[in-house]
């Protein structure tokens, strides 16, 4: 191969490689991303991020927000902040505490069950318990005030009715209807 031909082919191949790999309109494919790191798939980080809220106003946790639509600019920063703390040796609980101190209690996806927040957790269950108890007591009282109890028309040990029984019952009911 001639030297000139060789360099022409090399140039064409390089151009082809360059063109193939680059998107025609990179901005149309969303914000440019950094390659996924080890921390991005760390189960501990993921669990922690599920308990912390993104500050972009979406109402989602950091993990969900940063992996939803990949348009939020807040959650990747919060994720990076968590990774930094984690690499510095902080435990998830300590990172959580750092976030609460920095962003306030609303950074937690669920309030800590202490103090007034306990009401949030306990009131629904207590309300149902109290309502259920009141209901049971009222029903039991009303039940007792009935003048007589009505025995079940069918003995407990009765086997399933036969076709003959059903036909007779049907006939008697028809007579009642007439």
């Amino acid at each position: 191969m001639e030297r000139r031909e060789f360099f022409t082919s090399l140039g064409a191949m390089t151009a082809l490689w360059w063109q193939d790999d680059r998107l025609r309109d990179p901005a149309a494919a969303g914000a440019l991303r950094n390659p996924v790191g080890e921390g991005d798939n760390d189960a501990v980080i993921r669990s922690l991020e599920l308990t912390l809220k993104c500050t972009c106003g979406c109402n989602l946790d950091i993990f969900t927000c940063r992996t939803t639509d990949f348009t939020c600019s807040y959650s990747p920063q919060l994720h990076a902040e968590i990774l930094t703390h984690y690499e510095q040796g902080l435990t998830p609980e300590e990172i959580s505490q750092v976030f609460v101190e920095k962003y306030g209690e609303q950074i937690l996806m669920a309030p800590t069950p202490v103090g007034f927040n306990l009401a949030g957790y306990l009131v629904p269950g207590l309300a149902i318990l109290v309502a259920g108890s009141v209901l049971a007591v009222v029903l039991a009282r009303k039940q007792r005030t009935l003048p007589t109890t009505i025995e079940s028309p069918i003995p407990d040990d009765l086997a399933a009715p036969t076709g003959e029984d059903l036909s007779r019952l049907e006939q008697e009911l028809s007579e009642v209807a007439d």
């Binding site: 440019l32 348009t71 996806m109 019952l169």
Partner: protein
Amino acid sequence: MTLLGQFALWLALFAGIWGAGVGLSGRWKGNPELAASVTRAAYGQMIAMIVAALALWKGLITHDFNIEYVAAYTSRNLPTSYVVTAFWAGQKGSLLFWALVLSLFGAVAQVVTSRRHARLLPYVAAITTGVTAFFVVTMLFSANPFERLAFTPADGRGLNPQLQNPGMVIHPPMLYLGYISITIPFAFAIAALLSKKLDTGWIHAIRKWTILSWLFLSVGITLGMWWAYVELGWGGYWAWDPVENASLLPWLTMTAFLHSVMIQEKRGMLKRWNVSLIVVTFLLSIFGTFITRSGVIASVHSFTQSNVGYFFLGFLLTVGVLSFSLLYLRWPALEADSKLESMASREAAFLFNNLILVGIAFSVLWGTLFPILSEAVRGVKITVGPPFFNRVNIPLGLFLLFLTGVGPLIAWRRTSPANLRRQFVFPTILAVVVALSLLAAGMRNGWAMMSISLAGFVLGTVLQEFQRGIAARMRMYSEVFPLALARLINRNRRRYGGYLVHVGILVLFVAFAGMAFKTNREATLSPGETASLASPYGHTYTFTHLGVSQYTALNRIVSAATLEVARDGTKIGVIKSEKRQHVDSFGEKTFEPSTEVGIMSDLREDIYVVYAGSIGGTERANFAITINPLVWWVWAGGAILVFGGLLAMWPGGRPVGRLGRREAQAGFETTLSGPPEPAVAAPVVTGVEAN
């Protein structure tokens, strides 16, 4: 056209004022002409609303960008289907849609309601026209869809990309139909209170309406879950967002009503409770609207904040106070006809079912409002998200699932312990078998195991009911199995439709449990590179990046990333996820690029891929890959639930004549329809003991 639309809104308002004013005053009594004028007001209002709606639709279709609403939600290159459905994409249009549908429902209620309830109809017209008038007032004075701009832009902003999805074409209207149709049962309940006709007449008049609105809500919620799953890209379908919660609240109370109303029909009990449930359900539907539109609680689904929230808050408080005051006045007249005879009865089981349903509704409402309460009491903002709702509601939901199975096993009035034992044997065995099978299969998640085992229990009760009914028919009429099954269902559609709804619910619970085992990972791949992920079933999926292609579609530039998927080394297909950059008719970029998820679904699990974006503007890309078990069953469960509801609602198949009524009073649920083939069948077998 905007002038015409505006004029129509004013006409609708005047029709509402007349209808509500005359109807509620009661002056029409003894004056047939005046009574007829109230009904005509409902028809007139409907016509006015149709005209107003057509005016907006014309503006949308003709791209009249001088109308602020048209410019804000459409563009010249928006596909026509989305131009049409942009009608309900924004605050103003959705208010118009609400008023339009309510006026239609109000008019239809006047037409289809039996003449037996004629005395209630003017009151019903008064309520429906009055509520419609409220929406019209809100539009005229706060969110006018016909508001014009001072200039005419060359093109509109276009529709939010996330709303350009088939799910958003049908999900919001379905949910709105659910919310709106609740007004009709509410109107009948108030009409019964006002007219003092507090027998079961109003209950019969609203039977179809209640199931219809419950169905619309069910379909709307399920479609909303589907839309969130396929469009939002976070790999789930329910996030306990305040707006999602708001749609669940009336569904829960309406479900409670559909159960408790049976006690009123059969035993004349729970009259006060049933009226209260209908009123609460209506108020919750308005509350949901208030939350969505006021901005008082942060939500991803909220409309733009505006002052319509004040209108809704005022309306909510006014209607609540008036309705409960009226209920208080009629309290003595709502005395039960009979009393509970035993705690071991279906009545008691339904009462506890109601307690749990309303309890869950309360807990969801409590959690939704707790941030406001916390801020008011402590001055500290907090967040109440999925961890809170899951912790509080999963146990309640499982208890409700248990009661779903218990209800059909217990007879009306009373059940003996021996009978209880007999009824519970098969479902309990099935539940235990399911639990042991799960343990043997290696499942160790307690909540998921409990959910699936209880689903087995409920399935056992339903199968038992069907088996007994079919066996009795086969024995009595020598019918073959399919015929016996078909006739059994046909003779009592409400009952067996209800059982199918229970099947839909248990399928949903099993599917929800599946999400406890989701797995996910993120990966950066160049074309030709692979990443793998293990599924909960033990398979290993391999994903090979095939490349990213870019092309221009109607109103967007598409960047499509394709992955080849292999399960345990065997290729099973390709999956494509996109980034879409929407542009206007001049080619200018509009919204931020949005994501289209790639989903490969089968009965066991979904492979869910999101193209996160490009590395350095090349085809090298980041992907979020999730495996979601049992998601297909969420949609299947929703479909079964809706099918069961439709079956229960379908006309016919009810006990007829005096005999049917007498049996109902006696506590028997039979389906006699007279000779030559009285469909006594299984219900007699279970009617005494198990109904």
